[in-house]
C-alpha cells in the first residue's frame, strides 16, 4: 500500500497555484470526513477509501489552479475518487456483478455530483461509522489517534507529526499499518451493536481526550502548551457531540475540554513557565469558552441519565471556572465530586486530586494523610505530581526540609523542562 498524502504538499511557493492549493486544503479540512465516509460506503474499506480521496485531492491540486475551484468541491472530489475506484476495478478485471451495479449507480447519480453526498441523515451516520472505525479496538491507541486526526480531522501526516513531536515518517507508518490492520481484521463499516456501544463510545471519547491533553500537558519537550492540538481535539469532540446529542458523556467531554481550554490564556508566563491554578489571573480566562462549557454540561444533564466520568470531571472544572478566586472556590463540593468520581472510576490520580481539594477545604494535615496512603500503596511510583503535591503540603505544614526534598524529587521525575524549572524554583524559595 502506498501512502499518498497530498495535504502535505499544500503551501508551496508557486504563487499562481498557491491560492488554489490553499483553497483545496481548506475544502479538504471541511469535507474530508464526509468524502472518506461516502467513499467507504462505496468501496467497503476505510483504508482504500482514504487512499482514493487522497488521489482525488492530488488531482484537484493539478486541475484547480487552472480551472478554478468547482462550485461543489466536496462532491467534485468524491466523484473523482469514485471514478478512480471504478477504473481500478476495471484495470484489475474484477468487474463482477457487484462492481457493475456500483458503476451503474454512479452513472445514474451523475458523474459530477452525487445526491447522497448532501443527504444529511445518511452522511451523519456514515461519519459516525467512520469515527467508530478510526477508534476501533483492533488498533493500538497510537494508531487510533493518528487515524482519527487523519481521517476524521483531515490533518496531513506532517501536521499530526508536528502535533505529537515525532517524525512525519513515523505517523505515515502508523497510518499505513492501521489501514492494513483494519482491512486484515475485516472491521465492518458500522456503528457498534448495543451490547458494545458504551465501550466503543468510551474508546472514541478517550482518543479525543488524549489528543486534547497532548496539546496542553505534553509529557516531554520544552513547549508547555500547543493549543492548536487541543483546539482540533475540541473541534472533533464538538463534532461527535453534534452527531450524538443524546450521549451525555459526549456532551460532557466537550464541557470538560471547554472549561480546561478556557484557562489556556492564563496558564503560562511570557517565557513559557507554567502558572498553577491558584496563581492564575482569572480575568484572562476565556469567559465565552466557559459559557460554552456550561451550555454543554447543561445539555448533558438534560438527557437525564446522571453524570458519569466526564460529567463529574466537567463539573469539577466548572467549579473552578465560575469561582472568582481560589478562596471563593467551592472546595467542599469539589471533594464530593472527586469522591463520586473515585467510586465510578477509581484511580490513584483521582485520589491525588481529591487530596488537593481536601487540603483546600479542610487543611493540609488531612490531605497529607491521603497522600501518604497513596505513597505507601506504590500506585503512583515515578509520577511527578505525587512528590510535587506532597512537597506543597509539607511546606504548608512548615516541614520545609522534607518539602524541599519532595519538590526536588518531582523535578527529577518530570519530563517537561518548564515544569522542572518551576519546581526547582519553588524548592529554592523555601526558607532554610
Amino acid at each position: 500500500m502506498t501512502e499518498t498524502d497530498a495535504t502535505g504538499a499544500i503551501g508551496g511557493a508557486d504563487d499562481a497555484a498557491d491560492r488554489a492549493r490553499r483553497a483545496a486544503a481548506a475544502v479538504w479540512r471541511i469535507e474530508s470526513a464526509r468524502i472518506v465516509a461516502t467513499l467507504t460506503r462505496f468501496v467497503g474499506d476505510v483504508g482504500q477509501a482514504e487512499d482514493l480521496a487522497q488521489e482525488a485531492l492530488v488531482e484537484a491540486l493539478r486541475q484547480w489552479p487552472d480551472e478554478g475551484v468547482p462550485n461543489n468541491p466536496g462532491a467534485w472530489l468524491t466523484a473523482v475518487a469514485k471514478r478512480r475506484a471504478i477504473d481500478g476495478w476495471r484495470r484489475r478485471e474484477r468487474l463482477d456483478e457487484r462492481y457493475a451495479a456500483m458503476a451503474h449507480d454512479l452513472e445514474r447519480d451523475g458523474a459530477a455530483a452525487s445526491d447522497t453526498f448532501w443527504d444529511p441523515d445518511t452522511i451523519d451516520d456514515d461519519i459516525l461509522r467512520l469515527i467508530f472505525v478510526s477508534c476501533h479496538p483492533v488498533l493500538s491507541r497510537e494508531a487510533q489517534i493518528a487515524l482519527t486526526l487523519r481521517i476524521v480531522g483531515g490533518l496531513s501526516s506532517e501536521e499530526i507529526a508536528r502535533a505529537f513531536l515525532v517524525p512525519t515518517a513515523t505517523i505515515q507508518q502508523r497510518i499505513v499499518r492501521a489501514k492494513k490492520t483494519l482491512a486484515a481484521a475485516k472491521v465492518p463499516f458500522e456503528v457498534p451493536e448495543p451490547d458494545q456501544y458504551a465501550e466503543r463510545l468510551g474508546s472514541v471519547l478517550s482518543v479525543l481526550y488524549l489528543i486534547f491533553n497532548e496539546g496542553y500537558l505534553p509529557a516531554s519537550g520544552t513547549e508547555w502548551m500547543r493549543p492548536d492540538v487541543s483546539a482540533e481535539a475540541l473541534r472533533l469532540a464538538r463534532m461527535v457531540a453534534g452527531l450524538m446529542p443524546r450521549e451525555p458523556e459526549a456532551q460532557s467531554l466537550v464541557a470538560l475540554m471547554e472549561f480546561t481550554a478556557s484557562r489556556f490564556p492564563a496558564r503560562t508566563k511570557r517565557d513559557g513557565t507554567p502558572i498553577p491554578l491558584d496563581e492564575q489571573d482569572r480575568s484572562r480566562w476565556d469567559r465565552s469558552q466557559i459559557a460554552r462549557g456550561r451550555e454543554a454540561l447543561a445539555r448533558a444533564d438534560r438527557v437525564g441519565r446522571g453524570r458519569a466520568a466526564y460529567g463529574l470531571q466537567a463539573a469539577i472544572a466548572e467549579c473552578h471556572a465560575v469561582a472568582a478566586s481560589v478562596d471563593d472556590t467551592d472546595w467542599a463540593r469539589i471533594v464530593l465530586l472527586y469522591e463520586a468520581l473515585g467510586r465510578i472510576a477509581p484511580s490513584p490520580v483521582v485520589e491525588l486530586n481529591r487530596a488537593v481539594a481536601v487540603a483546600m477545604s479542610t487543611g493540609p494535615a488531612s490531605a497529607l494523610r491521603i497522600v501518604d496512603e497513596l505513597e505507601r500503596s506504590g500506585k503512583l511510583a515515578g509520577y511527578p505530581a505525587l512528590p510535587a503535591v506532597r512537597g506543597e503540603l509539607l511546606s504548608r505544614l512548615g516541614r520545609t526540609q522534607e518539602a524541599r526534598g519532595e519538590l526536588e524529587t518531582a523535578a527529577r521525575l518530570t519530563g517537561n523542562e518548564r515544569e522542572r524549572a518551576a519546581l526547582l524554583a519553588k524548592a529554592a524559595a523555601l526558607p532554610r
Binding site: R22, A23, A25, A26, V27, R29, I30, P120, D124, I127, D228, A231, E232, L234, R235, L236, A237, R238, M239, V240, A241, G242, L243, R263, P265, R267, K269, R270, I275, P276, L277, D278, E279, D281, R284, S288, R292, I316, H320, V326, L352, N353, A355, V356, A357, A359, M360, P364, A385, A388, V389, E392, L393, R396, A429
Partner: protein, 144 residues
C-alpha cells in the same frame, strides 16, 4: 484561530429579504447552522432584530449623543454574526461562501484577536505580573 462572519445587507436586500418565504429562509439558515455545529466549528452566533428598533450612540460629541434608528447615512446594515473556529483564512472563507445569502448581502470576515495579538509590555499585563508575584507561595492544585 477564531473568525467572525459579519452579515451585512444593503437596504434593497433587506427589503427583498422581507418578501421571501420566511419558512424557507429559516430552513436554509438552520441547515447552514447545523452544518457548522456538526463540523464542530460553531462557537457563537446571533441574529439581530430590525435596525429600526435599534439606536446609535455617537461619540463625536461629549457626552455621546443617542439617536434612534440605524446608521443614518450608511447604506449597509449589520444583521448578525457567527464566530467560527478555523485553521486558516481560507477555511474561514470556505465556510463563509456556504452561507445561504443572496445579492445585496455581504459577509465581512474578520479574525478574532487572541492574547498573542496584544503587546506583552502593556501596562495591564505588567500589573498582572505584580498580582501574580503577590499570589506566589500558595498551594498549586494538582488538578491543573
Amino acid at each position: 484561530m477564531k473568525y467572525m462572519l459579519i452579515m451585512r445587507s444593503d437596504d434593497a436586500a433587506v427589503e427583498a429579504y422581507k418578501e421571501l418565504d420566511f419558512n424557507e429562509v429559516i430552513a436554509a439558515m438552520g441547515a447552514y447552522n447545523e452544518s457548522l455545529i456538526k463540523a464542530g466549528v460553531l462557537l457563537a452566533g446571533e441574529g439581530l432584530t430590525d435596525a429600526a428598533e435599534g439606536f446609535v450612540v455617537d461619540f463625536d460629541a461629549t457626552p455621546p449623543v443617542v439617536t434612534d434608528g440605524p446608521y443614518g447615512e450608511t447604506k449597509e446594515l449589520f444583521n448578525g454574526f457567527w464566530i467560527i473556529q478555523a485553521s486558516s483564512k481560507e477555511e474561514a472563507a470556505e465556510w463563509a461562501k456556504r452561507c445561504p445569502l443572496g445579492p445585496g448581502a455581504k459577509l465581512e470576515v474578520r479574525r478574532v484577536t487572541e492574547l498573542e495579538d496584544f503587546p506583552q509590555d502593556n501596562e495591564w499585563i505588567q500589573k498582572e505580573a505584580g498580582w501574580r508575584a503577590e499570589a506566589e507561595g500558595r498551594l498549586g492544585a494538582a488538578s491543573e
